[in-house]
């Protein structure tokens, strides 16, 4: 039984099919890349899996259980965590409080326990002074905090939506090793949406490619990047 699976997952908005009949699976300890052209439906796909959106048809299975229509907060409690492409750190809370939220509401810990577990996670991500207001964080720190917030849920599945965007090469390298370490230590199933091909190559073992909502290719990056359809739709001259 895979940790996470989708079966014929489809989402329509009015006339537009954003995600079309996508079936895939993700297992513990695995890092999966999700790539595809702009507007291919990558973010919508993560919204469907994490419960931010409900599918039009098809299924989402978490450890064999059908969670297709479970609300987002319940999926968070079951162990599906994610970060967001457009990040909104909670302005009126400190870094620590931002991270605690997941522990309090997903893992149902008391404030005291949540504080302790949040401190642990932040320390492992080297987040520095936790009493800071989030307004003063650098982009790298904000991205780390986003991951910390997701980890505080105590997840088994973690989706990272463009966490490397906006980071420079140095920072990207740091982040890659951090994500690898997290996945390994915690035995997580990780899905990564990323446009920078270097990141995908370094980080992932397997890649799925979406185009116009459809899954058009699947396999290791080295294979997928040679697929003519992928090159035409996505990589272009960069391949």
């Amino acid at each position: 039984m895979k940790t996470l699976q989708t079966e014929h997952l489809t989402k329509r908005f009015l006339g537009l099919v954003a995600v079309n009949d996508v079936s895939f699976s993700l297992d513990a300890g695995e890092i999966l890349g999700i790539i595809g052209p702009n507007g291919a439906g990558k973010t919508t796909f993560i919204h469907l899996v994490s419960g931010i959106l409900m599918p039009t048809s098809g299924k989402v299975l978490f450890k064999g259980r059908d969670v297709s229509y479970a609300p987002a907060h319940e999926r968070a409690r079951m162990g599906i965590a994610r970060t967001f492409q457009l990040i909104h750190p909670l302005e009126n809370l400190t870094v620590l409080e931002n991270v605690m939220i997941g522990a309090v509401f997903s893992r149902r810990q008391s404030l005291r326990e949540a504080r302790r577990s949040a401190e642990g996670i932040c320390e492992s991500l080297q987040l520095g002074d936790l009493g800071r207001d989030t307004a003063s964080l650098s982009i790298l720190e904000i991205k780390k905090m986003e991951i910390a917030r997701a980890l505080a849920n105590g997840p088994e599945v973690l989706f990272l939506d463009e966490v490397m965007a906006g980071l420079n090469a140095d920072e990207t390298r740091q982040m890659i090793s951090m994500v690898k370490a997290i996945a390994k230590e915690r035995g997580l199933a990780v899905g990564v949406v990323e446009h920078v091909m270097g990141v995908i190559r370094e980080l992932t073992e397997r890649v799925i490619v979406l185009e116009s909502g459809e899954l058009i290719a699947e396999g290791p990056y080295s294979e997928v990047s040679k697929n003519p359809r992928v090159i035409e739709a996505y990589l272009g001259g960069a391949a």
Partner: protein, 234 residues
């Protein structure tokens, strides 16, 4: 010189972000490289009047524009593609592009030619010409933002992280077009994708901690050991 910045100091609240920065751009394209938090976006905001400089001067096209309002600077001939895109979400692609030219003296009377050029650059926008921008994906919106800026027929085009969220095929397309454009437009670009951007610009500045630490021809910078170690490699 098209843009000349002298001793620019600037920041938010009480916190200084830029310290005594000087740089200049002629009829060329220039990349601004640096880690996050170095002040790249602040520099752009200061040039476009979105934040008020504390000290120093900014001259554009021979005129002092230090502290001028954003719309005045835009009308003088600087077009900006901001990181956050800043489109008009309730309007169609067509309207967004038309507004890019409507208030800019330099673009008057050339709207059709400019539009044609933009649609050639981003064919998908032709398909989606009547679509409401707010319903498009993040990457598509970025294309609209770039096209809107080009509609202003700018003397100086500033792109803040243009490849953010764009698929690789489009990124290379954008950089190709930039190399084409730079014949008649000066370009200032900040880019995380340093390799790609250094390939397509003439010169570069490296900004660290609010100050310029390195400048030079793009080809030289690409070989600089510090740049190589910090910004290339992926």
């Amino acid at each position: 010189m098209i843009l000349e910045i002298q001793g620019l100091t600037c920041g938010y609240g009480k916190l200084p972000v830029l310290r005594d920065v000087s740089l200049s751009i002629g009829a060329e394209s220039v990349a601004l490289i640096g880690p996050n938090g170095a002040g790249k976006t602040t520099l752009i905001n200061a040039v476009t009047g979105l934040v008020k400089p504390w000290g120093g001067s900014i001259r554009f096209d021979g005129r002092d524009v230090t502290g001028h309002a954003t719309h005045e600077i835009a009308r003088a001939g600087i077009a900006l593609v901001p990181q956050e895109r800043e489109l008009f979400p309730g309007m169609t692609v067509a309207d967004n592009l038309a507004l890019g030219a409507a208030y800019i003296p330099r673009a008057q009377g050339r709207e059709e030619r400019l539009l044609e050029q933009c649609l050639r650059l981003f064919p998908i926008l032709k398909e989606r010409f009547r679509q409401i921008v707010g319903t498009m994906s993040g990457g598509q919106q970025r294309m609209v933002a770039i096209a809107r800026a080009l509609m202003a027929n700018p003397k100086l085009l500033i792109l803040d992280e243009p490849s953010l969220g764009l698929q690789p095929s489009i990124v290379s397309e954008v950089f190709d077009r930039l190399s084409e454009l730079k014949k008649d437009v000066a370009i200032l670009v900040t880019e995380q994708n340093v390799k790609e951007s250094l390939r397509s610009v003439d010169r570069g500045y490296v900004l660290e901690n609010g100050a310029v630490v390195l400048e030079g021809a793009a080809s030289d910078l690409a070989k600089d050991p510090h740049v190589e170690a910090s910004y290339l490699g992926l």
